[in-house]
């Protein structure tokens, strides 16, 4: 009789244990892998003649961008559109925010219009966490101050994963203004969780003191040291407005010390180059490096749409009626 027993189904599929995507500090490795696996399937949709699926029909997504953004905003709205979700967006200028409405009131009003998911970009660290506490919507952090930018980090690791076999033992160096970078912070969290080793590199003025104690990273102020034994180098954008703060003497000098050139590519024949964009050509990366075949910057952008589709799909709330 035991012979004719139907056996159990394969292992229960992975699932996200989170309701929101605020930062990656509490996401565990299986959740990250589930997000990446799902994104990979959505990536395939983007190569089809019809790049849209009806999956999120009837779901409303609101983008609240209180800080300028081009690609993240575009990427999220394409992702929502390709899933057939309905989107509304609101930016700082020309809205009630300008009239002095608080973040909480804006979000509550948006929620009162029956929005399921709120995508928030805000200059204050913790703004998405605050919204998650005071509204019922699902909150996705699209960048909060210098704190976190989880979807950028996820699309970065998704891009890495298409080029490497495993994160275990992978060496990633992040080069640039670490202090002000939410991208660096989120990447360190994701990469550490997945088992990669991260080195942070930048001028002393841009490397926070005590980083090595707070996170499992190495730090160096020498580019050569950061590229030694490195598999993937991620250059961060230098914010021009910071030059006035005296963090680095000139863009020329920054490039001389921290800019990646074809010379570096020659010396490290397997090194891959990433950049969250927008690139300052000739500063973080030499012109020829941006266009080099080992620069995978544009595949980051394509993966961004797929990854955000996965995030929306996995976090969009289920409807009550059954």
């Amino acid at each position: 009789m035991a012979e004719s027993q139907p056996s159990a189904a394969p292992d229960r599929p992975a699932a996200l244990r989170h309701r929101h995507l605020l930062d990656l500090s509490t996401y565990e490795a299986d959740e990250l892998r589930h997000l990446l696996d799902t994104a990979q399937e959505f990536r395939a949709v983007l190569d089809r003649p019809i790049r849209q699926v009806p999956t999120l029909q009837g779901t409303s997504v609101a983008s609240l961008f209180f800080e300028p953004s081009t690609r993240t905003k575009l990427s999220f709205s394409l992702a929502a559109g390709r899933l057939s979700a309905e989107t509304v967006s609101l930016s700082k200028s020309g809205s009630s925010v300008k009239k002095g409405e608080t973040l909480k009131d804006t979000a509550r009003n948006v929620e009162a219009m029956k929005v399921d998911v709120v995508i928030l970009r805000h200059s204050s660290p913790g703004a998405p966490h605050f919204l998650a506490r005071c509204t019922d919507s699902v909150i996705i952090n699209a960048g909060d101050g210098a704190h976190a930018h989880p979807t950028q980090a996820l699309l970065d690791v998704l891009t890495m994963r298409t080029h490497v076999d495993t994160f275990e033992g992978l060496n990633v160096s992040i080069i640039g203004d670490i202090t002000h970078s939410r991208v660096a912070r989120s990447n360190v969290q994701a990469l550490n969780t997945l088992g990669a080793q991260v080195t942070l590199c930048g001028p002393e003025t841009m490397l926070p003191v005590g980083m090595e104690d707070a996170m499992d990273v190495r730090t160096t102020t020498r580019l050569d040291a950061a590229l030694e034994g490195c598999d993937i180098a991620m250059a961060l954008r230098i914010q021009m407005e910071r030059q006035d703060e005296g963090l680095f003497p000139s863009t020329r000098e920054y490039h001389r010390q921290f800019g990646i050139t074809t010379d570096h590519l020659r010396r490290h024949p397997d090194l891959l180059i990433m950049h969250p964009g927008p690139v300052n050509r000739g500063i973080e990366l030499a012109d020829a490096v941006v266009d080099h075949e080992r620069a995978i910057i544009l595949s980051q952008v394509t993966n961004g749409v797929a990854l955000r589709m996965a995030v929306l799909y996995l976090l969009a709330p289920q409807r009550d009626e059954a």
């Binding site: 139907p6 056996s7 394969p10 395939a44």
Partner: protein, 198 residues
């Protein structure tokens, strides 16, 4: 699936399933014209639906090769993105691989699933295929057609028709996933009879 299932009957043994697949392979071959005038073999393809349909399609591909020395291309289809109940479930279903390594336009497709029930999965599969091109035709192959259609979806190549009760379920088990072959009719606990809309 769940340990609460109570087996009511075994509908097919491993041997029955094998013979069913033998016969189905012949049915797939019927319209193919090996001389290539009307319907040459390179205009046909199999599309297996995740999860078990993929393995069944793979076995049909092998049988077609053995019986007629014809190599049919095989595609993998996951219809989760096209389901009409994707937002109604308790948790988000896992999206599996879709890989159609051929152009579906002008091709005769055989869509392979293990069980056909309400027809909603079949509807989703047709929508997914139409988004990839314009097939010449689509035939629907299933090991078990258990009736209770809610949509006008017909089956073309059927292993066995089994009129079931709504609270019963069919379990098609394949070696590749379940470490055994066969088909069972089970009784599900009343509390969870609504979730599966196959």
């Amino acid at each position: 699936m769940s340990s609460d299932d109570r087996i009511k009957a075994q509908l097919m043994t491993a041997r029955d399933l094998g013979r069913t697949l033998d016969r189905m392979a012949q049915q797939i071959l019927e319209p193919i014209d090996p001389e290539g005038a009307q319907a040459p073999s390179d205009t046909f393809a199999l599309v297996g639906m995740q999860t078990r349909g993929v393995h069944l399609a793979r076995r049909l591909q092998t049988r077609v090769r053995e019986q007629a020395d014809i190599e049919l291309p095989l595609g993998l289809l996951d219809v989760t993105m096209y389901r009409d109940d994707v937002r109604l479930r308790l948790e988000q279903p896992q999206i599996q691989t879709t890989r159609i390594p051929f152009d579906v336009t002008d091709r005769h497709l055989v869509l392979v699933d293990d069980v056909v029930f309400t027809g909603r999965t079949g509807r989703a599969a047709l929508d997914a295929l139409m988004d990839m091109g314009r097939p010449a035709s689509v035939q629907f192959l299933t090991i078990i057609d258990r009736h209770h259609r809610e949509l006008p979806i017909a089956t073309d190549i059927v292993g066995r028709e089994v009129p079931t009760l709504p609270d019963e379920e069919i379990r098609v088990r394949v070696q590749e996933v379940d470490e055994k072959d066969g088909v069972w009719l089970v009784q599900t606990p009343a509390s969870r009879s609504t979730a599966d809309t196959r």
